[in-house]
């Protein structure tokens, strides 16, 4: 008798937990998702054990951030009207080059992390799009700037497709650059430029690392 009572109680609890947890998972707001990932990144950046190993730190952060981004959306928006003229193979090549460029530049910024803090200001959801507004504060340098994330809903997940720093949209900025190169010369020269840039940066990173030794 006592056992069945306990069992029923357990089942009730399970149900309660199910109903309580499930909707929460299904409708996780974009800000919570951004915050969860950002907290993970901050934890890595603030880990004193990882401070000496910048290469490993970069890799760990990149692994977290990579899944949060809709790379295809980013690439398509950056190429804008030139996107539809590209063949699937060209698209794939472009996406890879662009992804590398972005990953490299943003992971390099991690090296100069100096105790910045994130403040979550607001979130606005409009259909399958959302904007999460944050502020990044550098107490030591007495600096503060606004960082907004634009997200798109894919399934149950919100994926980032643009970041806006002090009103400057990263995707817009690249779009104008790409457009300039393509209309000024050609798409091929853009790809060439992206490839040589990659090569150049890799070389300079190598030499600067060697200099430091």
């Amino acid at each position: 008798m006592k056992q069945t009572k306990l069992l029923i109680a357990c089942i009730m609890c399970l149900f309660a937990a199910f109903f309580w947890v499930f909707p929460a998972v299904a409708a996780e707001p974009p800000m919570a998702q951004v915050r969860e990932k950002a907290d993970k990144v901050m934890k890595i950046l603030n880990d004193p054990a990882l401070k000496g190993n910048k290469e490993k730190r970069r890799q760990m952060v990149t692994n977290i951030v990579e899944d949060m981004i809709d790379w295809q959306e980013v690439g398509r928006r950056a190429l804008a009207q030139h996107w539809r003229k590209r063949s699937p193979r060209e698209k794939e090549e472009f996406l890879n080059l662009f992804r590398d460029l972005l990953k490299r530049t943003y992971s390099e910024k991690l090296d100069i992390y100096a105790g910045e803090q994130i403040i979550y200001v607001s979130e606005v959801v409009d259909g399958n799009k959302a904007v999460v507004k944050t502020k990044v504060i550098n107490k030591k340098k007495e600096q503060e700037y606004s960082v907004d994330y634009r997200l798109i809903k894919k399934g149950e997940k919100w994926l980032g497709y643009d970041v806006i720093i002090e009103g400057i949209s990263a995707v817009n900025n690249y779009r104008v650059q790409f457009n300039e190169v393509i209309t000024g010369s050609s798409y091929e020269s853009l790809v060439k430029r992206m490839k040589t840039r990659e090569f150049k940066v890799k070389e300079s990173a190598k030499t600067s690392r060697e200099e430091k030794r």
Binding site: W83, T105, V124, N173, V176, Q177
Partner: protein
Amino acid sequence: MTRRKPTTLFVFLAMGIFLLSVSAAYGQGTAPPGSTGNSTEIKADIGPEGKDLDRAAQSVKEADGEDKLKGEAQDKGTPVLDGADEESEDEEDEEFEETVDTIADPLKPYNRFMFEVNDKLYFYVMKPIANVYKAILPEPVRLSVRNVLSNIKTPVRLLNCLLQGKFEGAAIEYSRFMVNTTAGVLGLFDVAKKYSDLEKQDEDFGQTLGHYGVTEGFYIIWPFFGPSTARDTVGMVGDFFADPLRYANFTRDLSVAGINADISGVTAATNATNETSLTLGTYEEFKESSIDPYISMRNAYFEYRKNKIRK
């Protein structure tokens, strides 16, 4: 030299005025904005939340503006990768797409050349000087130099707040000046922000002109000063005349061996060196991240100023 004897009285007076202005700024009965500007500005004055919502809604709209591209792609029958969402093409969105990141650049050949000149100036002049400066002065000192110079420029920001009808901003600037000049030891420390959360109101004449609907005109890069537009150049001249240091008659006291140093010129040079020393590496990073640095900077300048005027 005339000397003010009743210093304590002055401090008390300043404190009194500060308290008054703070209460005026945060009191419920703040006077309605006298600005005859556009409707968005009036909306923005309702309060911080209203402003935030307003701007947030705008950004969502902006984000949607880009959807036009997707729509276009679908029209042309190209497979769209995520395909699912079909959003209506608003004419408003189309307009937005037209206006985004376009800025007239009739002086492009000159501008590209000047971009290179400033690039070389940075690497061969500003950076080496800033590196020496940085080695001599520790960061807290350099931050204080920044604070002092910024404190002296208060009249420029205050005037532009008033011109735009931002009376709360003007009150904040006034309070900041009073607190930082006294408690902050002649502006060395930004105590107004640290303890009272009074943010610097970054307003200039270029923004005032923009506030009243003056468009950018065209893009122009000045040697030393960097990127600007026709409107912001006019604004720069306005700020130059509003600079209190221009009217300070220190030249006589600063003359060394018969050479009269221009105080506003000296502060401008100090400011440039100081700022460079505090932001070393940023420009290099920017260059590395871009495919066409000239275009990237032009777009960034344009968007940054647009955002500032919206605020």
